[in-house]
Subunit: 135 residues, 2 copies
DNA sequence: TTCACTTTTAGAATTATTCTAAATTACTTG
DNA sequence: CAAGTAATTTAGAATAATTCTAAAAGTGAA
């Protein structure tokens, strides 16, 4: 039978990370369903609800490692908190300022024309578009 | 004779803020020359160098007040620190990730087409474009 | 001048995040 | 499988940015 449940251990190994109990639990929550935007705190709460013990420091460690491995990207839209995004493909965001929610929107319909060239001695890293809205 | 030095007291009064010694000193540094992107720490250092005593808490207070009054806008591009921008007109930013520098670029040459409509029940607040580059 | 507010300030508090050093766990090898 | 070693987790301390508190100082109206 073909695998219906994704293999998080392999995902982690492929990223050069040992598939420990807590990394697998975190990966399951992060990558088990559709794309997610989480904070360290929110992810910590979700995984604890899963009855697997994880320290908040481990969540921070894992998020940083997952990001460094390219499994996540970090999005900074509000002062004082980082969001981690399971959607690593090219896309942009709505940020609902009134309640701190982030929503994706695809970049393929969006055209940005007329961007100036990067300053001398620099290479383009990424173009972020954040559409801020309020209720 | 026509005033060659801008009148920061009036600027502050016009914003509904008393022109105290420290607010005037802060305004002078912020608005006395071309557009600036400062952090609370960097502004604090600059004003202290001017021999006017200011507490860091006062700098935070003033930056928040100036922003609320529309004299500044706040820009969040990196986790854990806020930049305050004296350019309140519509424009976008280069962010040099390797050294934390922010540079303006005018929005009038930039065209963003195909943005989806704001989610139901929300109003557009602002569209931020950040071009991230590294050395 | 006086007086009622505002503002400033030092230092404590808060929040998000990272660090430390010790305990535990994962993988390798025998 | 049993060790051994290196990687990981963890509780709690430490840091960094920012806000709060309550008391002292300053501002401007009268
Ligand atoms: Mn980080
Ligand atoms: Mn703020
Ligand atoms: Zn996203
Ligand atoms: Zn700017």
């Amino acid at each position: 039978m073909s695998g219906t449940s994704p293999d998080f251990a392999s995902l982690l190994r492929g990223a050069g990370l040992r598939p420990t109990r807590q990394r697998v639990a975190l990966a399951r929550v992060l990558f088990g369903s559709g794309h997610r935007h989480v904070t360290a705190e929110s992810l910590h709460a979700e995984v604890k609800a899963t009855r697997i013990p994880v320290a908040l420091a481990t969540v921070y460690n894992a998020l940083n490692q997952f990001r460094d491995a390219g499994l996540l990207r970090e999005v900074v839209v509000a002062p004082g908190r980082s969001y981690f995004d399971t959607n690593t493909s090219h896309h942009h965001h709505f940020f609902i300022e009134t309640d701190g929610e982030l929503h994706d929107f695809p970049s393929d319909k969006v055209t940005i024309a007329g961007l100036p060239a990067p300053p001398k001695g620099t290479r383009l890293s990424r173009v972020d578009v954040v559409v801020r809205v309020r209720r």
